[in-house]
């Protein structure tokens, strides 16, 4: 998959690298051919690089809070708000606490984790393996159709009926997860810990991937019959169309990370039939799963799937209204939040607000995606993860997101005030991810020019933030557009009225 290799982040999961940041910044220095100007501990701020020694005081701060028998949530939130170090799996642990997966009492963690992970295994057995077994049997043995339940059973309670209904949701999920985070190769790669329950060679359980392939085949057959065409296409051709060749096929016994995300979303849809699956949920699971599946703590990494599922479920409990279309126009729905972005902007920068109003640029045109996906499509994955540290630490739960959105507007206010409708729409809709470019040293230099203190502070606050550049030619006018250097989160914080300083 050549396109994946073009991206500088495609080695995001280099097994030997302590974190993508470490290896990437080192490479950066090599490429620029000058001496490292930023010590890793400064660039990475939170001591992400394990080679930073002595340990960053921030790590010690986190460790102090986390070693208490009962964790002081307020203190943890305050620390996390300015970014969580990934060293030693601190981020994974903090996210689990901030998302209410782990209780504040340390002593209960082991038993809770064991219980929840077992519960998840049970979900897998009930919702993925069970229907598959029956199906596999059906294929080889005739007598199955004489069982009480069979694929043609018209009873709405029939397990088969449910199976076919679920397949529609599954097909939708499948299309979306296959193209999750296309700018990095992580989700296409094989997992380190394949789900033994399902990939057990002894049992040949049906994986979701196989189920999708067979479902596509089936629905095509039905469609042909309905239109009166009796000629069936050759099975070879059908299977070719159901497993598009643009996706890499992994050998038996392996599964790609996207398949894990698919299972998580499928089980969530099964357990939450009222909302089931809505496009965009995949973009919420993505960063969570990536974080947990790259946990330096291998004991926890092994359970990334179950842990992601529960953290995702808890996170969705807080943001699910964004995904429910019947709530769109209610007080808790997305429309209200989008308008809140504009009313906040009116407060903070009335000139810009009036300009956008005058051009009839509605928040729906851009803030819908920003808010629904918690900015996960707007920035490169590492930056998204850093922003989420702050969002998860926000005690008023995602009010901070509105401020970040506002800050994103204010940071490009000069361009917006100059631009016409078309230019401004392109500006607002451009995501860093879809227009990625190698990191530019120019951006950093201009940052350094503002003084070493600022550089250190901003980099500490949000490492990698300056990578979110726009490409030449992405606009009709061909003008290079960059998100300006000032710190988005700092700006967001200043609006919040909270002192958000870089730790020394």
């Amino acid at each position: 998959m050549a396109f994946l290799c073009l991206h500088p982040l495609s080695d995001l999961q280099e097994p030997s690298s302590p974190s993508w940041l470490g290896s990437r910044s080192q490479r950066e220095h090599r490429r620029q051919g000058d001496a490292p100007r930023w010590k890793p501990s400064v660039i990475l701020g939170f001591g992400c690089a394990s080679f930073a020694s002595p340990p960053c005081p921030r790590i010690a701060d986190f460790q102090d809070v986390l070693k208490e028998p009962t964790i002081a949530l307020e203190k943890l939130r305050e620390l996390s708000f300015s970014g969580i170090p990934c060293e030693g799996g601190l981020r994974c642990l903090c996210w689990k606490i901030l998302l209410n997966y782990l209780p504040l009492e340390r002593a209960s963690w082991t038993s809770i984790l064991a219980k929840q992970r077992e519960l998840y295994s049970q979900f897998l057995r009930e919702m993925i393996i069970q229907p598959g077994i029956a199906k596999a049997n059906m294929g080889v043995s005739r007598e199955d159709v004489t069982f009480e339940d069979h694929p043609l059973n018209p009873n709405p309670d029939s397990r088969w009926n449910t199976y076919f209904r679920d397949n529609e949701v599954l097909l939708q999920i499948d299309k979306d997860v296959r193209r999750l985070c296309p700018d990095i190769s992580f989700f296409q790669r094989a997992t380190e810990y394949p789900c033994l329950l399902i990939l057990d060679p002894q049992n040949e359980f049906e994986t979701l991937r196989k189920r999708v392939e067979q479902t596509t085949l089936k629905s095509q057959t039905v469609a042909r019959n309905r239109s009166g065409v009796t000629n069936m296409s050759s099975p070879h051709k059908l299977s070719a169309s159901s497993s598009p060749n643009e996706y890499e096929v992994l050998p038996n016994g392996c599964e790609a990370h996207w398949e894990v995300v698919e299972r998580i979303l499928f089980i969530y849809a099964k357990l939450n039939p009222g909302i089931a699956y809505v496009q965009g949920m995949n973009e919420i699971v993505g960063p969570l799963y990536y974080t947990f599946a790259t946990d330096p703590n291998s004991e926890w990494k092994e359970h990334a799937e179950a842990d992601t599922f529960f953290c995702f479920t808890n996170l969705m409990a807080e943001i699910r209204d964004n995904f429910i279309k019947s709530l769109d126009d209610s007080q808790c729905g997305i429309t209200y939040k989008m308008e809140k972005v504009y009313s906040t902007l009116k407060d903070k920068d009335v000139e810009l607000y009036l300009k956008l109003q005058e051009q009839n640029i509605k928040p729906q045109f851009f803030a819908f995606r920003w808010l629904t996906l918690l900015l996960s499509q707007e920035f490169l994955l590492p930056d998204v993860i850093r922003i989420w540290d702050s969002l998860f630490a926000d005690d008023s739960r995602f009010d901070f997101l509105l401020l970040v959105c506002c800050a994103m507007l204010i940071l490009i206010r000069e361009q917006l005030l100059e631009g016409d409708f078309t230019i401004n729409m392109r500006l607002l809709q451009m995501s860093a991810r879809s227009y990625r470019k190698p990191r530019s040293s120019k951006t950093r230099s201009s940052l350094a020019a503002r003084g070493p203190g600022l550089e250190e502070k901003t980099l500490t606050l949000c490492p990698g933030f300056w990578d979110t550049q726009m490409p030449v030619g992405s606009q009709p006018e061909g003008k290079l557009q960059e998100w300006p250097a000032p710190d988005l989160l700092t700006l967001g914080c200043s609006h919040r009225g909270t002192l958000c300083h870089a730790p020394s």
Binding site: F3, Q220, A240, D328, F365, R426, Q429
Partner: protein, 216 residues
Amino acid sequence: MTYAYLFKYIIIGDTGVGKSCLLLQFTDKRFQPVHDLTIGVEFGARMVNIDGKQIKLQIWDTAGQESFRSITRSYYRGAAGALLVYDITRRETFNHLTSWLEDARQHSSSNMVIMLIGNKSDLESRRDVKREEGEAFAREHGLIFMETSAKTACNVEEAFINTAKEIYRKIQQGLFDVHNEANGIKIGPQQCISTSVGPSASQRNSRDVGSNSGCC
């Protein structure tokens, strides 16, 4: 940057048929094999030339999942053209055309020009919907039809431009009220000056447009 007219388009159709890729190919002349999932709406614009007139196309690319349709609908309003896209390698995307069409017709101006597009024509070996079937559907429902490939750029320009030509033709025939922005058509800034003088000026303007086409 001046233009005679601005036409507003929407692109609709099932998830993964290549709506965003068509837009990207048309506006940026590049192909992204795996495009980010479209959430909400994406926007693109490009200038084209029809009969010597500069026409600005303002294109709204929508999300494919049904659940987003309530949001998608607000973009339907005031579109002069729609590209209704299916994937020639996936029959179900063709089967859903009727429901997309109903939706589009219900929420837009009756004059909206609809171009039916069978995308991914480069994947001939995996073809699941015959070209003739697309043509028949288009004939039956009064749509223009083309097969395109966002990957090879085959027919992409043509799809957008032919839609514009048809809208332009309808303007000349007087089928569109170009002064009502709800129809998805806006007269360019320069033209505005002459037309804003009064009704007689605007009539003269539309006659000019008409005579232009007569020459061609």
